[in-house]
Symmetry: C2
Subunit: 362 residues, 2 copies
């Protein structure tokens, strides 16, 4: 929780988020799904993908980038797969429908993969893999996103931060939830460093010449003006540092989420400008572990693996070894009734409430 955060009641926040979305014509059920996704992110300590996004969604719904009552179509379907056209709907609505299909199909067929195109920003990738996790299944979730990342040796932003998530259940804890952008950091991290006037590590971003830079403001300005340079793939700017592997991962996510679904990819995403479809696509997978081995045996092995990792010998100066998702589950536990909101996000929500004549009791 940062200095200028304010603790707000989750129940009230949920009511408000649903109310605001309803006011821009989103059906109640869809508004509830979207609010749940955003608040889940705040609760997991990832405010960049939380209700801070609500204003952008409202704008997108008003200007036509997003469709409040989309015609979501199952374009193709088989026992273990489906392709969904999201009709330009909210990514959370399209994503939840697609992941639910993957879960149902996996229950019947053992495993299933569902792609979705013509969707929008879907929040944290882990929300969907954890939908499977809650059912004791193995979940996979990926999405492409706005081009902000340069391929290795290029200074053009072609790739997205394209996150991927895999969630696997354990017996004595909530399991492992991998949820990571394939860039070294997201843009929001640069904004934080710019505000604090801090220098960037050199594997985060490049300047307009395509060279690694420690100047966050320069990168952010260049991104806005499309002057060249951008975020670096996981690893950094050289093959020596493994940056080409982050490039591979980002491209992999876009091939599975965008090209495979017949949606937009690479520079085509968000290319239409204001009011035009974003072109986002997603890839979801679900595996019923029992098709390979009894899920309880799998979970026991996961417990042992987690214990081995956590109790392994710490590097000098290190305090603790984490399991993927562990920090986020700890946040979730501590934010059961209340969640911190940045004061700017708080006041934006207040303005939205005022605009739509909704009670503001946060």
């Amino acid at each position: 929780m940062a200095d200028k955060d304010k603790m707000v009641k989750i129940d009230e926040l949920r009511k408000l988020a649903v109310g605001i979305l309803e006011k821009v014509d989103v059906p109640t059920e869809d508004a509830e799904i979207t609010a749940d996704n955003l608040i889940a992110s705040d609760r997991r300590g990832i405010p960049s993908h939380g209700v801070a996004r609500l204003k952008r969604y409202v704008d997108g719904l008003k200007d036509g980038m997003m469709v409040a009552r989309p015609d979501i179509k199952v374009v193709k379907e088989g026992p273990s797969y489906a392709l969904i056209d999201g009709g330009g709907g909210l990514g959370q609505v399209v994503g939840s429908k697609a992941m639910n299909m993957a879960i149902e199909k996996a229950r019947d067929s053992g495993l299933a993969f569902v792609t979705a195109r013509n969707s929008n920003h879907y929040g944290i990738a882990g929300y969907y893999s954890m939908m499977a996790l809650k059912e004791g299944l193995l979940g996979i979730s990926m999405t492409n996103s706005a081009p902000l990342v340069v391929p290795t040796f290029s200074k053009e932003i072609i790739l997205g931060t394209n996150p991927l998530s895999v969630a696997a259940p354990a017996k004595s804890g909530p399991g492992v939830v991998i949820d990571m952008a394939t860039s070294t950091v997201p843009r929001g991290k640069l904004e934080v460093y710019a505000r604090l006037d801090k220098k960037l590590p050199l594997s985060w971003a490049t300047d307009e010449t395509g060279k690694a830079t420690n100047d966050p403001k320069r990168v952010l300005d260049n991104l806005l003006e499309r002057r060249g340079g951008g975020l670096l793939p996981l690893g950094g700017d050289t093959e020596e540092l493994g940056g080409h592997k982050g490039y591979c991962l980002s491209l992999m996510v876009d091939i599975l989420s965008g090209v495979l679904a017949g949606g937009d990819f690479g520079k085509h995403l968000y290319a239409g400008g204001k009011g035009k479809p974003s072109g986002c696509g997603h890839f979801f997978g679900c595996i019923d572990i029992n098709i390979f081995r009894p899920v309880e045996d799998f979970k026991s092995d996961m417990d042992e693996y987690i214990e081995t990792l956590k109790s392994s010998e710490k590097a000098e100066g290190a305090e603790r070894i984490y399991i993927p998702g562990e920090k986020e589950f700890a946040f979730e536990d501590s934010y059961k009734d209340e969640v911190p909101l940045n004061e700017k996000v708080y006041s934006t929500l207040g303005e939205l409430a005022g605009e739509y004549g909704l009670e503001f009791k946060l």
Copy 2:
């Protein structure tokens, strides 16, 4: 090609590799699969996974770590999945069988995922994803491997370099082949730096205290003696550099290849010592692109994506932007009839030929 390499005829190399494997009781067909896999790696410019491995395989077959005539069983099976027990066979034999099953099932069911346990080192991950690629399908391949990598903030080697590969077809070229270890570099890279007395970049490895080090010999010695420290996950030693993401990826590969298949994982791999099973497991996937969209449309989009990446504006000082797999395909083209062998590998093969009374005409 390095200074001390020798060009050898691929036909003769293949004959010799098959002959040597036959002499340690590997059936001809399996010997041919294994030789094909190793030589494919040499031809793709990845000699670390080429015929340089043959001696280790022969030793493994002789001492009982690997089984020359394994009882490979399909333990579980459905229209879109299977679990294979490799019976301790050569990884190439188990892997090819598993990937062929995935391909056949994907032809019938649209997509299929096959896990394999009780296998061994399977060569380059890309060999299997490219089996699908050759059929115009999308291929996925992963394997766990010997513990050499430290989790973030730990100094214990628990994870493998656990590679993953995804291959996707294009129209006018061989397509995209992602094939990458999830550590920043493999151990072989440290051996090269040690020989050249070169300092390591700090995101490659840690010393016995768990701190990033530039001393390759120290890391290699520590690995041998298990004194602490090891290879770093992609990104490096800190969360600031994204090292926790490489840790996530390595763990993901092991969950899918090891835990899901009910095989060994983490520190259990290669834990039995000489003559004991390695415990390796793999994960293979195959998707018939037509279940989502006409494969020809997919390939056209891939062409456009590849062209966009390759023709994007280069960073200052960069000569060229590569597509994943492009360098390896260029090697393959230039090594059609002959392939370079390191002089040490060449003489080891000569010794093996002598030992088994085989003609040595390389």
